[in-house]
């Protein structure tokens, strides 16, 4: 043990010397004055060192677990390649203080046992600096304790479970997308105001995702107005019983916290049972392009033909990234540019935007962490707050709050795009916390497409 340790030290020292020479020769003009909050451990100029596991003078290696095959793959398998596309974009324009990001994402098939295996591999064998955007609530819950025990930054988990905000228990874990409680409150508030006295039914996934959403909805919608609460198990594709009960309760509005496949099943089953309520679907399950595709392919499997576009028309949802159709928005223009350059084979949908936006946030945090960041520097950078980026509302990040995006806007799907209704709304996760409009306009994307250090 001790010998290898010493050998490692020698190696580190050796590379550091080489790096210093290289830096002195090549890049005297590129060093930028850094105003990093964690500048104590990293000088603003000078050699790039192997300052932490996964960081070499030339690379930053990060890892992730993603469902690349299996039930959760349709749609979600676009996220990691999209993040990777943004990292390539940054790498081709100087990287992060000259280091290139190497993004190694492994397939866990949305199976928690496999998540555990691939994350152990990434941490113990591939020695990644951080786990970035690990996807899924049940899957990521399998590894969050391990990552925190190993003191590996576990940043921007791809799930809106409020559970990632446990800084005392899991100081290394951070959420990113709007948490399902906030989302439920914002959706519930809109429905309560615009469908006064109507009979409301819930349809939700039978886990933390659905239950957090319902928690938020219940904070806004009077209990007496809710006529049915139906949950589904994501492994059982027959939602007939639930839809029958929603219909029997004469629900006029059905609010759904479901993944895209189950939003499609809900709609198709309702169609079959001649049940036509107003649908309101949370962001996760309402990406119009993914949803329309699923609706058409499921209907085809059942021997019917439907127009996905027509069926998604009029669904109420919410969004925390700018609407994809809005090309005048500088962020969407940036996403579109990266999509055209690196991801020509993927549809330009919400998953692509999600992957790029999350990657942007990581690059923001890495720039802030300094030239030669330790793992703690990354935590410090996030804990001291990140400036608002691609999202329409600011982040909640602080030393005591590890939630990400704090607000969203209500939208209606029209011709495959989100049409914003009303202002961006921000709120907190408490049942009594007010929902307030956020009127500060979203800062535009930097012209270079890369966050300023």
């Amino acid at each position: 043990m001790r010998r290898t340790h010493r050998a490692n030290l020698a190696l580190v020292a050796g590379t550091a010397v080489v790096a210093m020479v290289v830096a002195a020769c090549g890049s005297s003009g590129t060093s930028t004055p850094s105003s990093s909050s964690s500048a104590s451990s990293s000088s603003s100029s000078g050699a790039l060192t192997a300052s932490a596991p996964g960081i070499t003078p030339t690379t930053i290696t990060i890892g992730s677990h993603q469902p690349l095959t299996g039930v959760a793959a349709p749609g979600y398998d676009e996220i990691a390649p999209s993040s990777d596309a943004y990292f390539k974009y940054v790498n081709s324009r100087g990287g992060i203080y000259g280091r290139k990001i190497v993004y190694k994402y492994l397939n866990d098939q949305y199976n928690p046992a496999l998540t555990s295996t691939v994350v152990h591999q990434l941490v113990l064998q591939d020695n990644v600096y951080a786990i970035f955007n690990g996807l899924g609530t049940p899957t990521h819950l399998a590894v969050a304790p391990f990552l925190n025990a190993q003191k590996v930054p576990d940043v921007f988990v791809a799930s809106g479970c409020e559970c990632w905000n446990s800084p005392a228990k899991w100081p290394y874990t951070y959420g990113w997308q709007i948490d399902y409680i906030r989302e439920g409150k914002i959706l519930g508030n809109y429905i309560e105001q615009h469908f006064k006295g109507k009979r409301i039914g819930y349809f939700y996934q039978d886990d933390e995702f659905g239950m957090d959403g319902v928690k938020g909805l219940d904070a806004e919608i009077p209990k007496s107005q809710v006529v049915a609460r139906e949950s589904y198990d994501p492994t059982n594709v027959n939602v007939g019983p639930q839809v029958t009960k929603l219909k029997a309760a004469h629900a006029q509005v059905v609010i759904s916290f479901s993944v895209p496949a189950f939003t499609a099943l809900l709609q198709l089953t309702s169609l079959k049972l001649k049940f036509a309520p107003q649908f309101a679907v949370s962001d996760v399950g309402s990406d119009p392009i993914t949803l329309a595709g699923l609706l058409e392919s499921f209907a085809k499997q059942g021997g019917a033909t439907v127009s996905g576009n027509a069926l998604t028309q009029g669904i109420i949802t919410d969004g925390y990234l700018p609407s994809l159709g809005d090309m005048s928005n500088s962020w969407i223009a940036l996403f579109s540019k990266i999509h055209k350059e690196y991801l020509p084979k993927l549809p330009f949908d919400g998953n692509v935007a999600y992957g790029i936006a999350a990657a942007y946030t990581f690059v923001q945090a890495m720039f802030k962490a300094g030239r030669n960041p330790t793992r703690q520097d990354l935590l410090n950078a996030i804990n001291s707050g990140l400036p608002q980026g691609p999202s329409v509302a600011p982040y909640a990040y602080s030393a005591t709050d590890h939630n990400g995006i704090t607000g969203a806007y209500i939208a209606v799907i029209k011709n495959g795009e989100l049409v914003q209704k009303g202002p961006v709304l921000v709120t907190d996760t408490s049942p009594t916390g007010a929902i307030t409009p956020y009127t500060t306009p979203q800062p535009p994307a930097p012209a270079s497409g890369i966050p300023a250090p």
Partner: protein, 348 residues
């Protein structure tokens, strides 16, 4: 005599494993621990199918029983690890007894169907009683490395040690059982149930016993897997797990404990190895994520073509009488196959 030989072999393997876990890196230790958990479960299954001639497509369900038992015991009662493992095996054995009682009345495809149903249905109980079983996100299992090993001792090496110890003990017990009167009785009723009954064997009881033993192994395997992966959740005990246990048993060579080891090693190491190779050759993520699945299929086809009696059977053929015998494959499947297969008497 037999016992001494088996214990001796197990001790030799234990020494090799100890050296391996110290020499290899922490992730290899993790994989060894994972493989040991699978070995435990597959060893029970290979006996069930290869020795007693019954098939189970639902052994993942027994692993789930053991895993949840272990998680609940650790969470609520904070029992010592050895006691937790023993209790998990006992609880899974009880579950196996119930299923076995039904299984003793079922044959061939009907038994396969019943166990298949178990594999599909059981994990959803965790969602149904989310208060106890933690629903879809499951229960987390935390095992700390004992203090006497020091604070710098790699946790995955400790995991590898305890899982390998449990696996080796299981293998020794099974090896002895296989050579005992019970093992001989199982073989007798596998080869000809009527003849076995005529010779005075209580067929139903022996069949049920086989189920109890193999589900105890699966339960222990599940408990080990829970400790290794830090979590038990329904998603980890899906149908694919049951099928891969069956695959490992057949791949290794039905009825052979060494075969169970080979099969489990393939199960654990081939996907990781192939993913590494695929990633390092710059394949697109869409392609490289499917390569391990394809490679697994190819390995399966090649082994079945080249070594119809599994890896252990193949080794035995190559090395002569040195390697212990593997049973001819598919006995459990074949004896209840359609009547077109002439040499089978079939019991209807």
């Amino acid at each position: 005599m037999t016992l001494a030989r088996h214990v001796g072999a197990a001790l030799a393997v234990a020494v090799v494993l100890a050296i391996l876990t110290i020499r290899l890196g922490p992730f290899r230790d993790y994989q060894i621990a994972e493989a040991a958990a699978y070995v435990t479960a597959v060893a029970g299954l290979t006996y069930l199918i290869g020795l007693s001639g019954q098939i189970s497509i639902g052994h993942g369900a027994f692993m789930a029983v053991g895993a949840y038992a272990a998680a609940l015991l650790l969470l609520h009662l904070d029992w010592p690890l050895e006691a937790v493992f023993a209790a998990s095996a006992v609880i899974a054995a009880a579950a196996g007894g119930i299923i076995g009682a039904a299984a003793a009345r079922l044959r061939g495809p009907y038994l396969a169907g019943a166990t298949l149903m178990l594999a599909v249905a059981l994990p959803s109980l965790a969602d149904k009683y989310a208060g106890v079983f933690g629903g879809d996100q499951g229960l987390s299992v935390a095992v700390t490395t004992p203090a006497w090993l020091g604070t710098t001792f790699p946790p995955t090496r400790w995991l590898a040690w305890i899982t390998c110890a449990a696996a080796l003990i299981t293998l020794v017990l099974l090896a002895n059982l296989g050579r005992s009167r019970i093992g001989r009785s199982w073989r007798a009723l596998r080869d000809d149930e009527i003849a076995a009954a005529l010779s005075g064997l209580n067929v139903a009881r022996m069949r049920m016993l086989a189920f109890v033993v193999s589900s105890a192994c699966a339960g222990l395997g599940g408990a080990l897997l829970a400790v290794v992966t830090d979590i038990v959740s329904p998603g980890a005990f899906n149908l694919a797990l049951s099928i891969s246990l069956l695959t490992a048993a057949i791949l290794g060579g039905l009825g052979s404990l060494a075969g169970a080891v080979w099969g489990s090693l393939v199960l654990v190491f081939v996907p990781t190895y192939v993913t590494d190779v695929a990633n390092s050759h710059g394949l697109s993520s869409g392609a490289s994520s499917n390569v391990p699945i394809a490679a697994y299929g190819v390995v399966l086809i090649v082994v079945m073509l080249v070594f119809p009696s599994g890896i252990q059977g193949g080794l035995r053929r190559l090395l002569g009488p040195v390697a212990p015998a593997a049973r001819p494959p598919f006995n459990a499947l074949r004896r209840h196959a359609p009547a077109s297969e002439k040499q089978e008497e079939g019991t209807r």
